[in-house]
């Protein structure tokens, strides 16, 4: 039986405002519940409902409290973001090395076949998507008058992913350029391809970073902003503050809702998928995106072959053989990316509180 008491409603509101790891959220909610129950017992009013109302009022506004948690724990959150970014970077570098040396059997580097490798494109995709999302969010954040510290965290996280992707792309590009230069003039065209790619990453990174810094500077007008902190913690605070806007921006831009409508439309067409609300079924939604992304790769490969006029029966056969592997590979990557970054970048939310609150409202 669902408890629809004032205290539970209050805790739901508080939990919805907390953009913190699940473990920390659970602990905060547990402590708040204990405190509120004690306050209710000690309330100087008669009646359970009145006592609960008094207790929740004495405890403070849930939104204010959530914001205070975000401010106080911002340094720890940004440290976690840096650690995660470093771990992702290390993982990608190891993966890159493994792919070049053994799986793909490319002895000299990334572009000896003149077309780059699938991994290059995947890293590029991650960098581009993270970059564009961060850029859009940061640009909007820079113009918004209602920013607070809770709303900006995700911009910093997006930037972190973007920075890691850009570093990896630059490393891969350098490796490719060196390989092409060593191999002679046959692959000069690839050098230009890499140079343009690096330039795009650099421009996106710079613009996104400058927008986010501009956005975070606007927070100086907010009371008790950690921006007023001095010493070595200030830059970390600033990074965290700069990121908080994206949870707000994700909602404001309506990325999740819009992509949800598209998915719902697609799923209505496909008999295999009944219409569903992506916010209620995030993993189902992610699976659909994964399959779509996986299908897109061999289709694009086919288009490239047709465009180049290289379509012959043997290549079509090769494509048909590699297509399932590519679909599975891309699909797995999209799902992994969604699992790793979905909540991190504010693309999906915790559903527990929403489901609890729904019927009681």
């Amino acid at each position: 039986v669902r408890d629809c008491s004032l205290i539970e409603q209050y805790l739901c509101e508080l939990e919805a405002g907390l953009r913190l790891p699940h473990r920390v959220r659970r602990r905060i909610i547990g402590e708040a519940r204990d405190h509120l129950e004690q306050l209710t017992e000690d309330a100087p009013v008669d009646g359970k409902a009145a006592a609960q109302a008094w207790a929740t009022e004495a405890f403070g506004e849930p939104a204010v409290l959530a914001r205070r948690f975000a401010e106080e724990l911002a340094v720890g959150a940004s440290r976690r973001a840096v650690r995660t970014g470093a771990a992702m970077l290390a993982l990608f570098l190891i993966l890159c090395d493994l792919c070049t040396s053994s799986f793909l059997n490319v002895p000299l580097g990334w572009v000896s076949d003149g077309h780059g490798t699938p991994l290059l494109w995947i890293v590029g995709q991650v960098g581009l998507v993270a970059g564009v999302v961060s850029l859009v969010r940061a640009r909007i954040a820079a113009r918004d008058d209602e920013l607070d510290t809770v709303r900006l965290r995700y911009a910093a996280r997006g930037l972190l992913v973007l920075a890691a992707s850009a570093v990896i792309t630059v490393a891969i590009a350098c490796s490719g350029i060196a390989t092409v230069l060593a191999a002679g003039s046959a692959h000069r065209g690839s050098v230009w391809l890499f140079a343009v790619w690096v330039l795009v990453c650099g421009v996106v990174t710079t613009v996104a970073a400058s927008s986010t810094v501009t956005a975070s500077r606007r927070l100086e007008s907010i009371d008790d902003s950690p921006l007023t902190a001095t010493g070595r913690e200030a830059p970390m605070d600033m990074l965290a503050i700069a990121g908080d806007g994206c949870s707000y921006l994700a909602r404001r831009v309506g990325l999740v809702a819009r992509s949800g409508r598209i998915t719902a439309a697609v799923s209505r067409v496909a008999t295999a998928f009944r219409p569903f609300d992506p916010s209620e079924h995030p993993w189902r939604y992610a699976s659909l995106v994964a399959v779509a992304a996986g299908c897109l790769v061999p289709i694009l490969g086919f288009v490239v072959l047709v465009t180049k006029g290289q379509l012959n029966p043997s290549q079509v056969g090769d494509l048909a053989l590699t297509a399932p592997a590519l679909i599975a590979f891309e699909g797995t990557l999209v799902l992994l990316g969604y699992a790793a970054f979905g909540r991190y970048l504010g693309l999906r939310q915790t559903a527990s509180c929403r489901s609890r609150r729904g019927p009681s409202a």
């Binding site: 405890f59 506004e61 724990l73």
Partner: protein, 113 residues
């Protein structure tokens, strides 16, 4: 600016001071804080938790979950580092309060003349 900002500026030191007497849970901490200040520091009850969490994150406090009368409660206590920090806070506050007192009394004397 928030009306309780002056309290927030010294909240860390006050929380450490309250917990220097022994381990306590959040409810007891705010009760003690209110009692010791004679009701002057009447903060919204929830506001001490973000500060307690941060102090724990910084290693000045530690916490553990215990069962009291069938209810799970998280109890905070001072770490050795927290004790050292409290000493520094007390010393800094002593110097600051003494200086402010001297300045205020000085202006009082000047006015009297």
């Amino acid at each position: 600016m928030s009306g309780n900002l002056p309290v927030r500026g010294h909240l860390d030191a006050m929380l450490l001071s309250v917990l220097s007497a022994g381990p306590a849970h959040g409810y007891a901490v705010i009760e003690t804080l209110r009692g010791r200040s004679g009701g002057v520091f009447d903060l919204p009850e929830g506001t001490i938790y973000p500060a307690l969490h941060r102090l724990e994150q910084e290693g000045l406090l530690s916490s553990r979950s215990i069962s009291v009368s069938g209810r799970r409660r998280r109890v905070y206590q001072l770490t050795r580092r927290g004790r050292g920090q409290l000493g520094e806070h007390r010393q800094a506050w002593g110097v600051f309060a003494s200086a402010v007192d001297t300045v205020l009394r000085g202006s009082e004397c000047a006015t009297a003349r």
